[in-house]
Amino acid sequence: MTSLLRIELRKLLPYRTFWAILAVFVILLFVILYGSSNVTINGQSAGATFYKFPDIWPKLTYIASYFNLLLGILLIITITDEYSFRTIRQQVIDGYTRADVVQAKYSVVLLLGVACALYVFLLGLLFGIGFADEVATDKILTDAQFVFYYLVQAIGYMSLAMLFGFLVKKSGLAIMAFLLYAKVVEPIIHYKLPDSLDKYFPMKVLSSLTPMPGKEMFEMVTGASEALTPLEALLPAVLYISLFCVLSYRLLKSRDL
């Protein structure tokens, strides 16, 4: 797997689109987090208490979860590029098996997931220590498991994007299909189905890993909805990730390149 990752890095590191999308992720997340203390709730500014440990972890990972779509788009581009350059075909000729192709992309998913989770963790430490009005040092790592949930969530989004990339092969169409599924198709399914069923759907499972902070208060207005807790969502999320990888492989195996 490390040799496959090394080859992927040879392709990605000189690629401007890769850095441009990562820069958007890094800068936007920082700017949004920086501006979050100015958010006014019920006429009161959230202020520096926004960054207090341990509450910062669920808040930060919830905000970061919105950028998973961006990571998914990045994955789709890296896969569809292989089709448009026809390098996927050449690499299978040169010695890759189809399983190697999926594993190579999955190694990128893991690396990006870990890098983004690490960045989120460092941001949490930076803002929690540097910007909060008081720092409870004994609570710095309390609830930091949300960063791990975020890692699984990011891997889940990118694995689904990987499947769409292999399925559709054209970047524009694959990105559109991915966004449509995540933002239109599944929400419609959620709307039609009872919570007891829709909570097990992929996007809902993944979003359950980083629930909206203060969701209970929100639901006092909108009405309660049934969802898995982050811990409960972990196993189905891992199963979905495995399923997306297996489906990507089966798809690649059954098709001509």
């Binding site: 080859i7 050449q90 000729i93 040169d94």
Partner: protein
């Protein structure tokens, strides 16, 4: 001579189109084997299947007597259709990726670049290369790992005459090192000039196969005249069991002899009929006329 590639009854169907139909051929070790056929005859499909990028609908193939595996892939270098590289990377960076995929030491990259004459331009981005340079880079990539077999699909496609001559010479140089080359082309001239063996495909079916020399030699044209009127010569020729075709053309009789029959036998046969031929000319058919006859026979 052992075969490096054995194809048995290979078929491929795309919906209602039978792209390849029960193809059975063997590529002898050390040969330059040409797959010849018009566009859409199944050449690229055949190569795609034996190179693992197209799934066959039926049949089987074996490389070096074994099913295709990672280990056997390392013994093959291939260029299928267009050169496929990352446009934003340099020639050298692209070859590093190829070397890693093939698990070949990077020290071979410079040698491959020199062999295809791209060493001075190795730092240039692939997207800035001319078509000829792209093609040469692809051949360089195929040569990485010093493969025993080189598979080239239309290697001179889109090249100018100078580029075509360069690539042909390169192929001959590589073959001189004892490597087997499997070459698909629709250019008859290319196959005739470069190949030792060939298979002719049409509509996915095998129409002829064997050493180029034997295919070319089997049906030489013989022209005879003198010694008797053309009509009498024709009548005698038609009575001979080893003449497969005879007709009058410009006051001469044009004949096609059966495989393995020497023109001296013809001379002897006429002599026994008391006809001393005034002229007997053997004209080797070009591969083009040979190919057209195979195709015509298929159409009929």
């Amino acid at each position: 001579m052992a075969n490096v590639l054995d194809i048995q009854g290979l078929s491929k169907r795309y919906g209602s189109v039978q792209a390849l139909d029960q193809l059975t051929i063997g590529v002898p070790q050390g040969s330059i084997y040409g797959l010849l056929g018009p566009n859409g005859s199944g050449k690229t499909t055949t190569l795609g299947i034996v190179l693992d990028v197209i799934n066959a609908s039926g049949g089987s193939f074996r490389w070096f007597g074994e099913p295709l595996s990672k280990a056997t892939k390392r013994r093959i270098g291939a260029l299928l259709e267009t050169p496929n590289f990352y446009p934003y990377l340099s020639g050298e960076e692209n070859l590093r990726i190829t070397a890693d995929v093939k698990r070949v030491d990077h020290s071979q990259i410079q040698r491959a670049l020199e062999m295809v004459g791209l060493a001075p331009r190795k730092q240039n981005k692939f997207k800035g290369y001319s078509l000829g340079m792209k093609q040469r880079l692809a051949i360089g990539a195929a040569l990485l790992g010093d493969p025993e077999v080189l598979v080239l699909d239309e290697p001179t496609n889109g090249l100018d005459p100078e580029g075509i001559a360069e690539v042909r010479q390169l192929i001959l140089n590589i073959a001189a090192q004892g490597k087997t080359i499997l070459l698909a082309s629709h250019l008859l001239d290319e196959v005739e000039k470069v190949c030792t063996h060939m298979a002719v495909l049409r509509n996915g079916k095998l129409k002829a196969e064997g050493p180029v020399a034997s295919i070319m030699a089997t049906n030489d044209l013989v022209f005879i005249s003198g010694g008797a009127p053309a009509e009498q010569l024709l009548a005698v020729a038609q009575s001979l069991p080893f003449v497969s075709e005879a007709r009058i053309l410009n006051h001469q009789v044009q004949l096609v002899l059966q495989t393995g029959v020497d023109s001296s036998e013809l001379n002897r046969a006429f002599f026994t009929q008391n006809i001393a031929l005034g002229q007997l000319t053997v004209r080797k058919k070009s591969l083009e006329s040979q190919f057209m006859e195979i195709i015509k026979a298929d159409k009929a």
